[in-house]
C-alpha cells in the first residue's frame, strides 16, 4: 500500500516536473541510452560467439571442419544430429539426465517447502544452528564426497540407478531451495496464515490452497535453480552411474577415440544439451525478472 501511494505521488510530481525538463537533458538521456544499448549489444555478441561456433560446427561434416576455416557452414548437414537422435545409446543419455533432474526437483520441492515454512514462521530449538548447518552443505565440494558416495550407494544397492544421482544432488539443492524459499515465505505477512486458520483451514489445506499460490514466483525461481544445478553437475552423476543411468555428459566423452575426435558429433551433442535449459528459462522468465532477489529486498 505504502509503495503504491508513493509511486502515484511520484508520478504526479514527475508529470509536473517533466514539463520543465529541458530539451538538452532529454537529448543527453537519449544518447546515454543509446550508448548502454550498444554496450549491451557488444556483450551479448561476445557471449553468443562461442555458442554460435558450436552450432556452426555441429552443422558441418568432420572433413569440412578440419579442412578449412569457414565462418558459417558451406553445406549444411544434419547428419550429426540424426546420428545422435536415432541411436539409443546416445539419446538415452539425455533421457537419463532429464530423469534424475526431474526426480531431484520433485524430491527437493516436497521436503524443502515444509522445512522452509518452519524456518520462516516458527522458532524451535536449534533452528539457527540447523539453518547454518544446511548452508554449509552448499559449500561442500562434490569432489570431497566422491568416494564415500560411491561406497554408500553401492552398499545400499542404488548404484547406477537414477534415484542415486537424484538423492546425491539433494546435498546442495535442498539447502539452496530452503534458503531461497525461506526468503520468499518471510515476505508473506503472517496475518494471512492466522486468518486462514480462523476460517477453519487445516494446515495442509491452507498450505496447498492458499500459501503455495502466494509464493508461486519464488517456486518458479527455485525450480530454475534446482534444474540448473542438477543439470550441469557431472562429477557426482558420473561417479554414481555406469551404464543404465549414465548422464549425457559422460556419453559425450565417447566422441574422442584413439583415431581422433569426432568434432561434428561432439558439437551436435553439446548443442542438444543447451536446449532443455532454454525451455526452462523460457517458462520461468517472468518469475525470474520478478523475484530473483530471493524475496529479500
Amino acid at each position: 500500500m505504502y509503495h503504491l501511494e508513493n509511486t502515484q505521488q511520484g508520478e504526479k510530481y514527475n508529470t509536473i516536473f517533466s514539463k520543465e525538463v529541458s530539451a538538452k537533458r532529454r537529448k543527453r538521456d537519449a544518447r546515454s541510452r543509446l550508448r548502454s544499448r550498444l554496450l549491451l549489444g557488444l556483450y551479448l555478441f561476445l557471449m553468443i560467439l562461442p555458442i554460435y561456433w558450436l552450432i556452426n560446427m555441429s552443422l558441418q561434416t568432420n572433413s569440412e571442419i578440419l579442412g578449412s576455416m569457414t565462418l558459417w557452414p558451406q553445406n549444411i548437414t544434419f547428419d550429426n544430429y540424426t546420428r545422435i537422435l536415432t541411436n539409443s545409446s546416445w539419446y538415452m543419455g539425455y533421457v537419463n539426465s532429464l530423469l534424475y533432474v526431474s526426480m531431484n526437483m520433485v524430491i527437493t520441492m516436497l521436503v524443502a517447502l515444509p522445512a522452509a515454512y518452519a524456518f520462516s514462521r516458527y522458532k524451535f530449538i536449534g533452528d539457527k544452528h540447523l539453518f547454518f548447518w544446511l548452508l554449509t552443505n552448499l559449500m561442500a565440494p562434490p569432489a570431497v564426497f566422491l568416494l564415500p558416495y560411491f561406497q554408500l550407494y553401492y552398499s545400499v544397492g542404488l548404484f547406477d540407478k537414477h534415484i542415486a544421482v537424484a538423492l546425491a544432488h539433494c546435498l546442495f539443492n535442498i539447502p539452496l531451495a530452503i534458503w531461497i524459499l525461506e526468503g520468499f515465505m518471510s515476505s508473506v505477512p503472517k496475518e494471512i496464515d492466522e486468518t486462514a486458520y480462523i476460517d477453519g483451514y487445516s494446515f495442509p489445506k491452507f498450505f496447498v490452497k492458499i500459501f503455495i499460490p502466494m509464493i508461486s514466483s519464488g517456486i518458479g525461481v527455485v525450480l530454475f535453480f534446482l534444474f540448473m544445478f542438477s543439470w550441469v553437475e557431472l562429477l557426482l552423476a558420473r561417479t554414481l552411474t555406469s551404464t543404465n543411468a549414465q548422464p549425457i555428459g559422460m556419453i559425450m566423452t565417447r566422441t574422442s577415440t584413439a583415431s581422433g575426435i569426432d568434432w561434428g558429433t561432439l558439437a551436435a551433442a553439446g548443442v542438444l544439451t543447451i536446449v532443455p535449459g532454454i525451455l526452462v528459462v523460457y517458462f520461468v522468465r517472468n518469475h525470474i525478472a520478478k523475484g530473483f532477489a530471493l524475496g529479500r529486498t
Binding site: G10, L40, V111, P114, R121, Y122, E233, G249
Partner: protein, 296 residues
C-alpha cells in the same frame, strides 16, 4: 528472517523429512571421510589408526600448497572481474517489454550448459586449427597456444569462467534493481542527482543483499571448479592450471590414497567454510556501519 516468529517445537516435524534426506547425503559420507582421514587403510581388514599424521602430510605437501595458491588467485581474480561486470550489465539491461525477456533468456544461456560442455565449447573455440578465437588470434600474429603456454591457459580459463558465470551476478543484480520503487528515482531526479550519485546512494545500497548472495555463490563455486578446466586444459600445461578439486579427484580416484585424500577433503571443506564466513561477516559488518537502523 522476520522477528515475530512463534516459539513452537512441533515445527521440527516440518523439518524432519528434509533433515533425514540431507543427513543421508551429507552426514554419512562426511563421517566416512572423517573415518578414513585418521586411518591407514591397507586392505579390507588391515587398517591402522594414524591420528593426525595424514593432516600433517597434506598441509606440508608442496604440490597441494601450490594448488591452493593457484585456487586462491583464481577465485579472487574472477570475483574481481565478475562482480563489477555483472553490476554493469544489470544496469544497462532493458527494464521492461519483450526486450527485457529476450535479453534475460539470452544472458542466462551459459548458466544452463553442463559444465563439461562449457569446457568442450571453449576447447573447440580456442583451438588454433578449428576454433574461431584460436584461429583469429593466430591470424593476428599472436602466438596463442593453451596446451603450451601457461599464461594463455590461465587467461583462457579466466575468460571462460567470466563468460560462464557473470550472467548469474548480472541476473541477481538485475532483480535487485527491479525491486527499487520508481519513486526513489523520481526523488533523485527532482534533486538533480548525478548518475553516479543515483548509483552510489540508491542502487548500490539496495544491491547489498543480492551481492552477498552473488559473492558467496561465486566464491564457493569457483573454489570447487572441476569440470571446465579439466576438459579445457586437463590441468596443464604441466600442473599450471591444476586446481584443488582436480588434485583431490586424482588422489582419491586415480591413486586410491584413501587416508591422505580424506584428510585433504576435510581441510578443503574447512577452508571454504572459513572464507565464506569471513566474506559474510565482513559484508554484513560493512552494511551495519552504513545504516545503523539495520536496513535489511
Amino acid at each position: 528472517m522476520n522477528n515475530n516468529k512463534v516459539q513452537n517445537n512441533r515445527a521440527w516435524w516440518l523439518v524432519l523429512p528434509m533433515l533425514i534426506l540431507v543427513a543421508f547425503s551429507a552426514i554419512i559420507p562426511l563421517m566416512t571421510v572423517v573415518n578414513y582421514s585418521v586411518q591407514d587403510v591397507l586392505g579390507p581388514h588391515a587398517r591402522f589408526f594414524t591420528g593426525t599424521e595424514w593432516f600433517q602430510t597434506m598441509l606440508n605437501d608442496s604440490a597441494l600448497q601450490a594448488a591452493f595458491l593457484r585456487q586462491m588467485i583464481f577465485s579472487l581474480t574472477i570475483l574481481a572481474i565478475q562482480i563489477p561486470l555483472g553490476i554493469g550489465i544489470a544496469l544497462i539491461m532493458p527494464k521492461r517489454g519483450w526486450q527485457a525477456s529476450a535479453v534475460l533468456i539470452l544472458i542466462t544461456l551459459p548458466l544452463l550448459i553442463p559444465w563439461n560442455v562449457v569446457g568442450s565449447i571453449w576447447q573447440i573455440f580456442t583451438r588454433g586449427d578449428i576454433g574461431l578465437m584460436g584461429w583469429g588470434l593466430r591470424e593476428l600474429g599472436i602466438n596463442y597456444n593453451i596446451t603450451r603456454n601457461a599464461g594463455d591457459a590461465w587467461a583462457t580459463i579466466i575468460l571462460m569462467d567470466v563468460w560462464h558465470w557473470t550472467p548469474l551476478v548480472a541476473m541477481l543484480c538485475y532483480s535487485g534493481l527491479r525491486s527499487i520503487p520508481e519513486a526513489y528515482y523520481q526523488a533523485a531526479r527532482i534533486d538533480r542527482a548525478s548518475k553516479w550519485a543515483v548509483f552510489r546512494y540508491i542502487q548500490l545500497p539496495k544491491l547489498t543483499n543480492v551481492l552477498v548472495i552473488a559473492v558467496l555463490l561465486r566464491f564457493m563455486h569457483s573454489f570447487m571448479i572441476y569440470a571446465e578446466p579439466f576438459v579445457l586444459t586437463g590441468g596443464g600445461p604441466g600442473s599450471s592450471t591444476t586446481f584443488l578439486s582436480q588434485s583431490l579427484a586424482t588422489m582419491a580416484i586415480g591413486q586410491q590414497d584413501l587416508g591422505p585424500s580424506a584428510a585433504f577433503s576435510l581441510i578443503y571443506f574447512l577452508v571454504i567454510l572459513l572464507v565464506s564466513w569471513i566474506f559474510y561477516t565482513t559484508i554484513m559488518h560493512m552494511q551495519k556501519d552504513k545504516n545503523p537502523q539495520g536496513g535489511a
